[in-house]
């Protein structure tokens, strides 16, 4: 089988809140199924080519670090656009999610984003912090995560990743969380997102394999621990 290639973009800057756990999750779920993979940790000064990438993670960084990344991202924008439009699988978390849009706000300053998605992040009046539960077509069970953002993201007519059950969501309105565009997920959910939401992880893997023309049903894994960890939070947050 052809090697599954994982790219962690700018791991040296976009690595807040345990986001690297998403990489660990994809790696393990491939390894447990004997699917060969390689992971490329791309630093801010490294050259790279996404043409054979199967999964790309764009994590979140601190405001300071995000500003450094933003300039670098503009240099590789065309690569990223080609990858996304060619149905490349990309998970963008928090800062990474904001960067994909037209603009975001840092210290009252409006900063131009990559403008790949027609979404916009505006200044919020308070920081939105807490546990989150959403209902999503991407997962039979509820998706659980943690949000921590001051910007409010307006997703216009895009499809959200899910509907908010607990938490603030994209814009503090407690309605929509995240965004789906082609094979891109943008979301505020840390936790990290994938380990405790294995159905989302497997869906991303399936989409990536399909894009490689490998249409095999994924071997079912024992997700008891994942689902129990999630279930505890769901019960607690919904007072069940």
């Amino acid at each position: 089988m052809k090697t599954f290639k994982i790219y962690h973009l700018f791991y040296d800057l976009l690595n807040l809140y345990g986001d690297r756990g998403n990489i660990a999750c994809i790696e393990k779920r491939l390894a447990w199924r004997n699917i060969p993979f390689e992971t490329y940790r791309i630093g801010i000064d490294d050259d790279f080519d996404l043409k054979d990438a199967d999964f790309v993670l764009l994590g979140g960084g601190s405001d300071r670090e995000q500003a450094i990344v933003c300039n670098r991202l503009k240099e590789i924008k065309s690569q990223l656009v080609t990858y996304i439009e060619d149905n490349g699988v990309l998970l963008a978390i928090c800062g990474g999610y904001q960067l994909l849009g037209e603009s975001y706000v840092m210290n009252d300053e409006i900063i131009e984003g990559l403008n790949i998605l027609k979404i916009k992040t505006i200044k919020g009046d308070k920081r939105l912090i807490g546990n989150v539960i959403i209902d999503s077509a991407w997962s039979n069970s509820k998706i659980v995560g943690f949000e921590n953002h001051s910007g409010k993201t307006l997703i216009n007519d895009y499809e959200p990743l899910g509907k908010v059950v607990v938490g603030y969501g994209n814009d503090g309105q407690k309605i929509d969380e995240g965004i789906i565009y082609k094979n891109v997920i943008g979301t505020y959910l840390h936790g990290p997102l994938l380990p405790k939401n294995p159905e989302v992880a497997d869906k991303l893997i399936t989409l990536a394999l399909k894009r490689k023309n490998i249409e095999i049903p994924l071997k079912k894994l024992d997700d008891d621990e994942e689902l129990m960890a999630k279930d505890i939070m769901i019960k607690r947050l919904l007072n069940m």
Binding site: L16, R64, I68, G130, N131, H190, E225, A229
Partner: protein
């Protein structure tokens, strides 16, 4: 008369709380503030020599206790918040519980460890003469936000004490940016030469130059981002180390030479070398001989769950606080350095004081445990299942037991190696400490 009442009431609350097994410090402080909101100022101005404040992500309690005991060893009267109650109420309580019924405080020094976010609430009434900054690591991001925000909070506090001198870790690029940009005078401590191999994939902060945004290059790391750095673009580099630690030993116990004096402890851990060096720098700044410190160190044992040892039914139990990735990684190294077979219990809570976001567990290098000689892993605390899941992703099987008392008892009962490490985060610390003490006393009887 009013002061008499405040002191009386607070002391009653404190001792009554202790009697029923609660810490009581913060409640006493809260009541004192309610009765007189200027109380902190009235008491803190009575300190005869200096107010020394210890801030920083890790090592506050141990460093503060070391400094306080060393100053006492040099014949000073010292008050200090030794249990680590380090927010406004805790600091007020520290003063009031050391005040007599006439409202008089008899202290040469006040040594106060203060929570980084609380400094700005305390400094207006209690102006530090010295601020010791141990280090700045990623910690409880949902409470403090990013490290840049922590630095802003510290700066806000520092503004109230324009004369304050800083004592900072030269090996920590972030602490140094803070000190250099603060405009305050500072004294540095650090470890000039490499001591151990530090692997490079540990999560590191501040990898980019604050002055030109270029990626920093490290000649070597001590651990986390602590090390010898320079910027290849603007040529900024690690600053001069005023108080340098040499000939370091840390695996079985700590030893370090400072100004030709060999300091020896009976506790271990590389990070503890930095706590000793921070204390040395403070003492040198006060013109106090390190010979006196040497005597204090020989008898010093960190308390309150900082490498605290218990003997329960023949099992050696080591309790240690591990509340953020940098601290946890050091804890794992500490376990590895003990080459004897062992069991490990990890207790993770997500209460407000711990930070309700546990994603930081994924920034800890648990895969390092593969180098260790661990027989059985247990997880516990309110996030026991999250912890079990984290371990699953580094191929470690563990037994998850939600109730911490049950987990501790079971781990001790089933310990084949009679060597158990209990690594806990903040709110799990005190209850675990109390429960282990209880078990130890029961067995003695």
């Amino acid at each position: 008369m009013r002061m008499f009442l405040i002191v009386l009431i607070c002391k009653i609350i404190y001792y009554a709380s202790r009697f029923v097994g609660k810490q009581g410090v913060t409640l006493a402080g809260l009541i004192a503030l309610k009765m007189d909101h200027q109380i902190l100022q009235k008491l803190s101005i009575q300190v005869k020599k200096k107010i020394i404040v210890v801030c920083g992500t890790n090592g506050k309690t141990t460093t503060n206790n070391l400094i306080a005991l060393a100053l006492q060893g040099a014949n000073n009267k010292v008050i200090y918040n030794q249990t680590g109650s380090n927010m406004l109420n805790g600091i007020v309580a520290c003063f009031i519980l050391n005040t007599n019924f006439l409202g008089k405080l008899d202290a040469d020094y006040a040594c106060l460890e203060i929570d980084e976010a609380s400094l700005r609430r305390i400094m207006p009434q209690c102006k530090a003469n010295i601020l010791v900054l141990t280090n700045l690591f990623r910690d409880q991001l949902d409470r403090y936000g990013e490290i840049d925000i922590t630095m802003d909070l510290l700066n806000e506090g520092l503004k109230y004490a324009p004369e304050c001198k800083l004592i900072v870790n030269a090996d920590d690029v972030l602490s140094m940016y803070f000190a250099r940009e603060s405009g305050h005078p500072y004294l540095t401590y650090g470890i000039e030469k490499p001591v151990q191999d530090s692997k490079n994939d540990e999560m590191k902060e501040g990898q980019f130059c604050h002055y030109c945004n270029h990626k920093l290059v490290y000649n070597f790391y001590h651990y986390s981002q602590l090390g010898d750095y320079y910027c290849p673009n603007c040529h900024d580099k690690r600053q001069h180390i005023d108080v340098n630690g040499e000939n370091i030993i840390f695996k079985d116990h700590c030893e370090v030479t400072v100004n030709n004096i060999r300091l020896i402890t009976n506790y271990k851990g590389f990070y503890n070398i930095y706590n000793i060096l921070a204390s040395c720098a403070t003492l040198i700044n006060e013109n106090i001989s390190l010979e006196a410190f040497k005597k204090v160190l020989v008898n010093f044992r960190p308390e309150n769950g900082r490498l605290e040892e218990f003997n329960i039914n023949g099992t050696k139990v080591t309790l240690n606080l591990a509340k953020n990735p940098a601290g946890f990684n050091q804890n794992i190294q500490l376990c590895i350095n003990d080459t004897k077979p062992k069991d490990v219990l990890i207790v993770i809570n997500d209460n407000a004081q711990d930070g309700i976001d546990v994603s930081w567990l994924w920034d800890v290098d648990f895969e390092e445990f593969s180098k260790d000689n661990v027989d059985k892993f247990y997880t516990s605390g309110t996030r026991y299942k999250d912890m079990q899941l984290r371990l699953k992703y580094v191929d470690i099987t563990s037994e998850a037991i939600g109730n911490y008392q049950e987990a501790i008892s079971k781990a001790i009962l089933n310990s084949r190696n009679k060597n158990l490490y209990i690594l806990v985060n903040y709110t799990a610390l005190y209850p675990s400490h109390v429960y282990l003490n209880k078990l130890q006393n029961e067995k003695v009887k």
